[in-house]
């Protein structure tokens, strides 16, 4: 499971942090539709996302809940929103190397500004149409999981 300056040579693990049931379903569907061989783990809110990443409770089992190679993060979630999740990820020595893609409906300047200020690696606006959404999913796969060379494995597995 080691990469040597190359892109991933295995199915990537993606953590989707999203509270909207339908958006989760659409995202999973889009990945399935594109026949992308990735393993998608879903956290249904900000708190769940942090529990997963910081290995709280059942998530300490890294076999069943491995640290992801990529995080897809929604912004507007109750209690702990995406901005807070992102802030905590990027403030953590080990988690901060995981690329985070903000995937949101919001085109607001303020959301973009805060996301990048908090260290987001990418900011994508969810298209309304499913066709467009599939296009976005395809691009995520081809850029972040195929073309992009991830950080050395140790960095993200020490935790």
């Amino acid at each position: 499971m080691r990469n040597n300056g190359k892109s991933l040579d295995r199915a990537a693990h993606i953590l989707l942090i999203e509270d909207n049931r339908m958006d989760i379903e659409l995202t999973l569907d889009a990945f399935r539709e594109r026949r992308l061989q990735n393993e998608i783990h879903v956290a249904t809110g900000g708190q769940q996302g942090l529990d997963y990443l910081f290995g709280h409770g059942k998530h300490c089992d890294r076999e069943a809940y491995p640290l992801p190679d990529l995080i897809l993060l929604d912004l507007k979630m109750p209690v702990i929103d995406g901005h807070e999740v992102l802030r905590q990820i990027k403030h953590d020595e080990h988690l901060k190397t995981i690329p985070v893609i903000v995937l949101t409906s919001s085109q607001e300047e303020v959301d973009r500004a805060i996301s990048y200020a908090n260290g987001a690696n990418s900011y994508l606006v969810k298209p309304v149409s499913f066709e467009g959404f599939m296009g976005v999913v395809q691009q995520i796969d081809s850029y972040w999981l195929t073309l992009n060379v991830p950080p050395p494995f140790e960095y993200t597995t020490q935790k």
Partner: protein, 461 residues
């Protein structure tokens, strides 16, 4: 005020007294020494001298009495002035050239309740609000140095209700014929009522500003919610409808498929509506700083997004290469011309390849950028309607749209201080003229670092 020399021995009087004694002596001794020519010649000389002395005495007496009357006039006029000052509702004072106050009018004394000790000028500073004394004295000192009139505002204790009230004071120097300051005269007016009105106005103004800010925050929160909360369910509707069409289309009869396609179309349209409405509402509370914007940069951005659309419709689009730098905002100008170009492409005549020209003409301190097309044209009666939100001239089947584009254009142009007009003939084409100020200063805006702003605009469009 004392008159110099009043008690001194007047030389004219002395001369006249001596003259009179001489005349009397000559008269008395006339019979005794009236014989002999030498004595008579001597007498004549004494006569002449005596007469001259009397004449001098008379002249000098006249001058003396005139001087005395002048002193009287000054004293009388001073008394009159004080009477006048005492009758005035303002607090009046006078000061010597060195700045010491030597007179306060009755109104001053009564207002502040500062009765003077016998013959002294009352201690007026006692009545001034302690915190205001410092600034006042500083202004007073510099006025004494420069000899210029000065204004000051300070609070004076009103004895009647023991309250400090704001006063506006003005002091002027009085100069003699040589320009030397002989005195200062000052008067102050109670401006407490104006002051408190001003204070009330200011606090109301602040309240109002806070209120407006609050409303803007509410609006922003609203548009944020619209942006996110309306789109999420819409994405579910259109997403699942698309999946249904795609994967389960075959298990539906044609009518079922048609209904599903309608759902997909309608949700797409609604998505466009939400986006356009958001654009429009954002413009309502956008804070704009006008900057010089290179219109070439704007059009290269606009054209980039039109490349594929233009190629698709076989359009011939030409942009003038003499576009100037105009006052505005890069994002808004891009939005304006994207919308205009979008319309020029969309409202084309069937089977006629669109020809679109972007040209510019300079007018005095402004520039007119014109976007003309050979499309379907607009009837003159509709020239106003097209700029209204949701007001459309065509059905969605003829020309799909949200009816917001030109409303956004007009609002954006208003924001950057420009104007828009339209010229059109049905079946021939339309031209939209956008008038922009050339320099931001002409639009009434401050423009620091003009060159810098332009280069930044170019580097980071």
């Amino acid at each position: 005020m004392s008159v110099a020399g009043k008690n001194r021995l007047e030389p004219g009087l002395v001369v006249s007294a001596v003259g009179t004694i001489l005349v009397a002596a000559i008269w008395a001794g006339r019979d005794v020494t009236s014989n002999g020519t030498r004595e008579s010649a001597y007498l004549w000389i004494v006569w002449l001298v005596a007469c001259a002395m009397i004449a001098i005495a008379l002249l000098s007496f006249r001058r003396f009495s005139r001087q005395e009357s002048r002193v009287r006039v000054v004293e009388e006029s001073e008394a009159g002035l004080r009477q006048l000052a005492d009758a005035m509702p303002q607090l009046v004072w006078t000061a010597r050239p060195d700045g010491t106050r030597d007179y306060l009018n009755q109104r001053w004394i009564q207002y502040a309740g500062i009765a003077p000790a016998q013959g002294d000028t009352p201690d007026w500073k006692r009545a001034v609000y302690p915190a205001d004394i410092g600034a006042y004295e500083q202004a007073w000192r510099s006025a004494l140095e420069t000899g210029e009139a000065f204004d000051a505002e300070y609070r004076i204790l009103r004895a009647r209700d023991n309250s400090y009230r704001w006063h506006l004071m003005r002091a002027e120097p009085i100069r003699d014929a040589k320009g030397q300051i002989t005195r200062w005269v000052g008067a102050s007016t109670d401006i407490e009522d104006q002051k408190s009105a001003e204070y009330l106005l200011n606090s109301l103004n602040l309240e109002l500003k806070e209120d407006v800010r609050d409303r803007i925050r509410q609006l922003e929160a609203f548009s944020y919610s619209v942006s996110h909360d309306l789109r999420a369910p819409l994405r579910a509707i259109s997403g699942f409808a698309e999946i249904l069409v795609k994967r389960h289309g075959t298990s539906l009869n044609p009518q079922g498929r048609h209904y599903l396609e309608n759902i997909v179309d309608a949700s797409r349209h609604m998505g466009a509506l939400i986006d356009d409405l958001l654009d429009y509402s954002r413009l309502g509370h956008k804070a704009i700083t006008l900057k010089p914007v290179d219109l070439h940069a704007v059009f290269s951005d606009v054209m980039l997004s039109f490349e594929s659309k233009a190629a698709e419709s076989g359009a011939d689009i030409q942009v003038s290469d003499t576009l100037p730098v105009a006052s505005g905002d890069h994002t808004l100008l891009t939005q304006i011309f994207t919308n205009l170009l979008d319309n020029a492409l969309k409202y084309r005549r069937r089977n006629v390849a669109p020809i679109i020209r972007i040209s510019c003409t300079s007018a005095e301190s402004s520039v007119i950028v014109s976007v003309s097309d050979n499309g379907i044209g607009i009837a003159e009666r509709n020239f106003e309607r097209i700029f209204k939100v949701f007001d459309r001239l065509h059905s969605d089947d003829e020309f799909p749209g949200t009816g917001i584009g030109l409303a956004v254009v007009r609002r954006a142009i208003d924001l950057i201080g420009g104007t828009i007009s339209v010229e059109s003939q049905v079946g021939i084409g339309s031209t939209f003229h956008v008038r922009l100020a050339i320099r931001a200063t002409d639009a009434g805006c401050d423009l620091p670092q003009l060159a810098l702003a332009v280069s930044a605009e170019r580097a980071n469009p």
